[in-house]
């Protein structure tokens, strides 16, 4: 096979051709069954590779990485291990080190056995325990504002009078999930809508970096839009209400996805719907088996 034809075949299989080039190549394939067979084989191979390694994607990075990514590193700042030679095994304590450690531990034990604890140390310990009882972990770091702004912009652009707000009309959450997964070429998990709202359908919305899923629901007081996109952040405890683009938006994360709900509703109604969407989803997280090894 000629080199240019082989390059086009790979480009076709990997979806790298422009629409007109794609049409032209499909015409060539119609005339050449061997070429079409090879393209089909490689396409099937691509799908098999993606499904073989698919379990790795939806799992979130540890929070340390999310924080590291959200901060802006200054020039010249490097991790401590940047220049260090990678080692395959953790360093093992040598025999002399181990001996010293054992001796030090024995010394500490002897000292503490004969020493009375000063009162101020007890006070500090009590204060520490008290603070532990009052302390709550900080909220997870995720780009809530950006999600809310994208959802508000999507809602303003798509939900307009006399314009169909969705590309895929369906009241069924499962159908919409399948459609979005196929269109976005990645797993999309949708929450089951509560009884107070009904789904109108789904569409693709723009988002920096990669497109997002956008769902439109009908509530009693008006319409609501839900933006869903993959996000490497831990699940939030509950939806949070924030203002974006002159609207209220409820944002939360779940199962490696970020959600932002906006609509023609007042803040309280929006938050109630968001909570209803969030709670079954959070409960279902236990039921969905984790993929991958």
């Amino acid at each position: 096979m000629e080199a240019w034809r082989l390059a086009d075949l790979h480009a076709y299989v990997d979806d790298c051709l422009a629409p007109d080039e794609r049409l032209a190549f499909e015409k060539q394939m119609a005339e050449d069954p061997a070429l079409a067979r090879r393209a089909a084989t490689w396409r099937a191979q691509n799908s098999a590779i993606r499904s073989a390694f698919d379990g790795e994607g939806p799992r979130a990075f540890p929070i340390s990485i999310v924080r590291h990514q959200n901060e802006i590193p200054g020039k010249g700042r490097r991790p401590a291990s940047a220049g260090a030679r990678p080692s395959r095994e953790p360093s093992r304590p040598s025999l002399s080190n181990l001996d010293e450690a054992v001796r030090a531990a024995a010394d500490v034990g002897e000292e503490s056995a004969f020493r009375t604890l000063p009162l101020w140390r007890l006070g500090v310990a009590a204060l520490f325990v008290g603070l532990l009882c009052l302390w709550s972990p900080p909220a997870p770091v995720f780009p809530a504002k950006r999600l809310a702004e994208a959802a508000a912009a999507g809602f303003r652009a798509f939900v307009r009078p006399d314009v169909a707000p969705v590309d895929f009309v369906s009241r069924d959450s499962g159908e919409s999930q399948q459609w979005l997964t196929a269109r976005l070429s990645r797993p999309v998990y949708l929450p089951t809508p509560p009884g107070a709202i009904s789904m109108i359908g789904a569409r693709i919305a723009p988002y920096p970096g990669a497109p997002a899923a956008f769902l439109v629901y009908r509530a009693q007081d008006g319409l609501a839009g839900l933006l869903v996109r993959p996000l490497d952040a831990p699940s939030t405890r509950a939806p949070e209400l924030i203002a974006a683009e002159g609207r209220d938006a409820a944002v939360w994360t779940w199962r490696g996805q970020g959600f932002a709900l906006v609509g023609d509703l007042d803040a309280q109604s929006l938050l109630k719907i968001a909570n209803d969407l969030f709670e079954p989803a959070a409960g279902a997280a236990q039921a969905i088996p984790d993929r991958g090894s």
Partner: protein, 188 residues
Amino acid sequence: MPPLNDSLTDLSDLRRFGLALTRDDRFVLDHAAASALVERLFRQASFEAVDASAGCDAKVIAREDGRVRAFAQFVRLYRRHVRRLTLDDGEGWDESAESARGKAASAGIGMAAAVRALPLEFRETLLIVVLAKLTHREAASALDISLATLVARLTKARERISALTRAPTAAETAGAAAPSVPHLRVVK
């Protein structure tokens, strides 16, 4: 400063690519070890990608460039990591690929095993295109190779995978099932 952090918001592709690439059944055998390695390389790659862009004009650098740059740094660091491990083992760079391939060079193995059995240069090329979904131009840039080399590697990788994942023929099955003749010598 280019919006590198924005461009790296969607890390799932890099992570999926990294986990698939690093778990090679030779140095990295399980998911936990692969995760630890990917995390370390990712941190280092993102720092170096930011540092590399610090001297450039922010207007020139597009958001997609940041993503490609992060992949390029990751691939470079992983190649260096494997090269060091291979040298520590007292083997050459190419021999590592050959020995890994030899372990799984039987027809009819699973897709994941077939991908892991590919030599590193084929594995990284195939995975960056198929799993990370970089365009051919971006993939060539990230791997620091020409488009022609990328196409050649993709062809070889796909053909090898086809050969490895096809069901074994009757002759191969019979050959595998036949007991090997022991090389024994009668000693009086």
